[in-house]
């Protein structure tokens, strides 16, 4: 794989872009985007694609909840409903959340935070983008060719026997997995090899540490998903017999294989979100993150421990009692590093100097909602309780609290935070706060109702339900409308910013972090002069007034 070791483009003085020019203006035309090697432009293209994916997945969610507003048929029949919730899951997991923070925000910010000119392998980076888009095409093709009705988890034997368009969807996920792996490889090498002078490991931003840990998971876990999906495809296409009891196979083996990737995958989802929180919290408390080393190491601990707990998805699958015990114990262990982060964040607020602008609202929401999500994970880790709660709406609410209340809040918060850096423009702060309010309220209304009906026995993936659950479903659906309204307002706000937003200063938030010390938007080569670092990104007591100036 020699993406990097190639001849540098022959440069004539006339057409070489000026490395000091604003990266948005340095080259023009659609080809300059489609064939770019600039990590910033690649990040933006990823951003556009994942936002489209989010809108699509969100639409599926609204349709699911709309169908559930009344008992029996509301809009669609059961087969269509089963496809709706499956597509919601597949699109949100594979097309949106896995790439979201690393590929869209990380691509843009990471090299700048390191003081580098680009990632280690720019052409590989572009290839990752195209691989993602190509995989997404397979997924879209599946959707129009009858879609999938297996749930995003593709459990066998249902997924190997159902009539829906499973293979193109699974192949799409397989292909997109390579995008994730290559991004991980790229980031790992970038962090190791492309740090600016003075950028020691203990001066790295915690966002960098988070992306580093995430990249480790991406590289180690995603190939296992790849082989699982390949085996599933062969089982379906060829009748391989690995998962079919009639041919000597075992359907539960699929679950083990699937979750061996998919559990670490949830740490791919949450750890970058936690990384973003560090950046925002520090800037808007004007303070270093308390317990820097502990927070950095906790990301690595999550990466490691995340590989040991997959069995907690299989507690009632018929697995041996011995195995369930081991996985339950390990599952509790993985709560510790998350707790360490939450405590350190709260300690950072204590005696900080806090400003509540919109990025901070999202970071604070993250801490609150992730705490709830994480604690509800404890319920599920307790074997006796999980027997009751498994495959109920309690689980659905739990993972939405961590993935939406956690990762999406982190993603959206990061988008607000770095929006001026990326676009050179400001957005309307009042509108941002307004949108946040509806997102926050809508989210909680949607999912608290689900916790309650779940523990009361409402199973998940149900097209229809008993009358006793109707009030909870109605409440949850109304919550989804509030949430959707919030996101819609946010979308309008960002579009307005692009059209007519105020120009941003270099450092609108007064941050001490490195990415805010270069021009906004950054020059093509990120820095006019490669920096030599003498302090960390959170060292407010060492930063000069000029560096922190918001003017």
């Amino acid at each position: 794989m020699g993406a990097v070791s190639t001849t540098a483009p022959a440069r004539s003085h006339a057409d070489t872009p000026d490395p000091n020019e604003n990266y948005l203006k340095a080259t023009r035309g659609i080809a300059s985007w489609l064939f770019t090697l600039d990590h910033k432009r690649i990040g933006i293209m990823y951003l556009v694609l994942v936002l489209i994916a989010f809108a699509l997945g969100g639409t599926f969610a609204l349709l699911v909840r709309l169908e559930l507003f009344t008992r029996g048929r509301t809009l669609m029949d059961a087969d269509m409903y089963n496809r709706m919730f499956t597509l919601h899951g597949v699109v949100m997991v594979f097309l949106f959340i896995i790439p979201s923070i690393p590929a869209a925000l990380g691509n843009f910010v990471l090299p700048i935070q390191l003081g580098a000119k680009d990632v280690a392998f720019p052409r590989l980076n572009l290839m990752s983008l195209y691989i993602y888009a190509f995989g997404a095409c397979f997924a879209v093709y599946s959707m129009v060719d009858g879609a999938v009705d297996t749930g995003w988890t593709f459990y066998t034997p249902y997924s190997t026997t159902t009539n829906s368009a499973v293979i193109p969807m699974v192949l799409g996920a397989f292909i997109m997995g390579f995008s994730s792996i290559l991004t991980g490889v790229n980031f790992l090498v970038t962090v190791h090899k492309l740090r600016a002078p003075g950028q020691t490991w203990t001066r790295l931003s915690l966002f960098t540490w988070a992306l580093y840990a995430t990249s480790i998971i991406q590289v180690l876990a995603t190939p296992v998903l790849a082989i699982t999906l390949l085996l599933l495809t062969m089982e379906r296409f060829l009748g391989l017999g690995i998962f079919d009891p009639k041919l000597g196979g075992d359907p539960v083996l699929f679950q083990h294989f699937f979750w061996f990737y998919s559990h670490p995958a949830v740490y791919i989802m949450i750890v970058p979100g936690m990384g973003v929180v560090n950046e925002i919290l520090s800037t808007f408390s004007r303070r270093a993150i308390v317990g820097y080393m502990f927070v950095a190491m906790s990301s690595l601990a999550l990466a490691l421990l995340g590989f040991l707990v997959w069995g907690h998805h299989l507690f009632v699958s018929g697995m041996s009692e011995y195995a369930t015990m081991v996985f339950s114990a390990l599952t509790f262990l993985v709560a510790i590093p998350s707790g360490v982060k939450v405590f350190n964040w709260v300690a950072t607020l204590w005696k900080g100097s806090i400003r509540l602008e919109s990025p901070m609202l999202y970071a604070l929401s993250f801490i609150f909602l992730f705490t709830i999500g994480g604690l509800t994970g404890l319920f599920l880790g307790v074997l006796a309780i999980d027997v009751h709660l498994h495959d109920t709406y309690f689980v659905v609410a739990h993972f939405h609290y961590v993935m939406v209340g956690g990762t999406v809040m982190g993603f959206v918060g990061g988008l607000h935070y770095w929006w001026p850096k990326i676009t050179g423009k400001l957005y309307d702060e009042k509108m941002a706060k307004f949108a946040w309010f509806f997102v926050f309220i809508g989210f909680n209304v949607t999912f608290v109702a689900q916790f309650i009906m779940g523990s009361r026995g409402m199973p998940r993936r149900y097209y229809d339900y008993l009358p006793e659950f109707e009030i909870f479903h109605k409440t949850s659906t109304i919550g989804s409308w509030i949430l959707g309204f919030g996101f819609l307002t946010m979308a309008v706000m960002f579009v307005m910013s692009l059209k007519s937003g105020k120009k941003s200063t270099r450092n609108p938030w007064g941050s001490a972090a490195l990415e805010w010390q270069t021009a906004t938007p950054p020059p093509l080569a990120n820095f006019v002069k490669v920096p030599t670092l003498t302090r960390g990104p959170y060292d407010y007591h060492l930063a000069t007034e000029e560096e922190l100036s918001e003017k």
Partner: protein, 256 residues
């Protein structure tokens, strides 16, 4: 993984970008990408990147090895019996071919490092030839399996007309007897056999593509004593493909 090095500092970095293009050309050889400061940094990055990629390749195969372990523990007699149906001579032959090709790949890297363009091409071509020999042997092995009904899953024990791919003129003829006397669940063995050797063969094919590309670049004079990175990391990939086979061979062919 290469040792963690502090970032390479280009002594001209601080004032570097203020200059015009002329002054930095001499420090920026043609093969050095614009975002790297020195060739060493670029080389180390490429190596680290390739090693990381290889780690994920190992994990990709590990899924199959785990499935193998699980099924073999469930059906030991079936695995043992089925393994005897494989041609040990062909398997061992392929093992030697791949080992030899790993050596020639390493020699190709060495030749580039010594600036020997012709030797590099020669070693690359021999490596590619070995890959084709490997695939050729596999063709004959697969053909035998198809004709003997030694197939995965639900196809096991059935005769299929494959004479268009495996013609009688090349020595293939149908004989279902081997599949008839094997213990139950031998089909699981063959499911894994075809998956594992099939995925491996796909990697060989990709490797052939990569090696041909490297050979062409060498012919165009892109490599030198100072710049041999692509040959190095292509050879690394090839070594992994060989390594996987070293494990596949005893596990599939030599169960007793």
């Amino acid at each position: 993984m290469s040792a963690e090095a502090s970032s390479v500092v280009d002594p001209h970095a601080a004032g570097h970008d203020d200059h015009g293009h002329d002054e930095h050309e001499h420090e920026h050889p043609k093969f050095l990408a614009h975002h790297f400061d020195t060739p060493v940094q670029q080389f180390e990055s490429a190596k680290l990147g390739m090693w990381t990629f290889l780690v994920q390749e190992l994990l990709f195969f590990s899924g199959l090895f785990v499935a193998y372990g699980v099924f073999r523990s469930w059906y030991p007699e079936a695995f043992s019996g089925a393994s005897h149906e494989l041609n040990k001579v062909m398997g061992a032959g392929n093992t030697i071919v791949l080992l030899f090709s790993s050596w020639t790949a390493a020699m190709a890297v060495r030749a580039t490092q010594l600036g020997q363009k012709k030797m590099t091409s020669m070693f690359l071509l021999v490596t590619i030839a070995c890959a084709f020999i490997f695939l050729g042997v596999k063709y004959f092995e697969y053909g035998a399996k198809f004709n003997e009904g030694l197939l995965p899953g639900k196809y096991f024990g059935h005769a299929y007309d494959v004479s268009s791919i495996f013609p009688a003129s090349l020595g293939f003829h149908t004989n279902l007897e081997p599949s008839e006397h094997l213990p139950a669940h031998a089909s699981s063995y063959f499911s894994l056999y075809f998956m594992m050797t099939g995925v491996h063969a796909l990697h060989i094919i990709v490797g052939i593509g990569v090696l041909i590309w490297i050979w062409r670049r060498n012919e165009r004079g892109e490599f030198s004593k100072e710049f041999f990175t692509p040959v190095d990391i292509a050879a690394l990939y090839w070594h992994l493909v060989d390594l996987v086979w070293i494990y596949l061979f005893p596990l599939l062919y030599l169960i007793d």
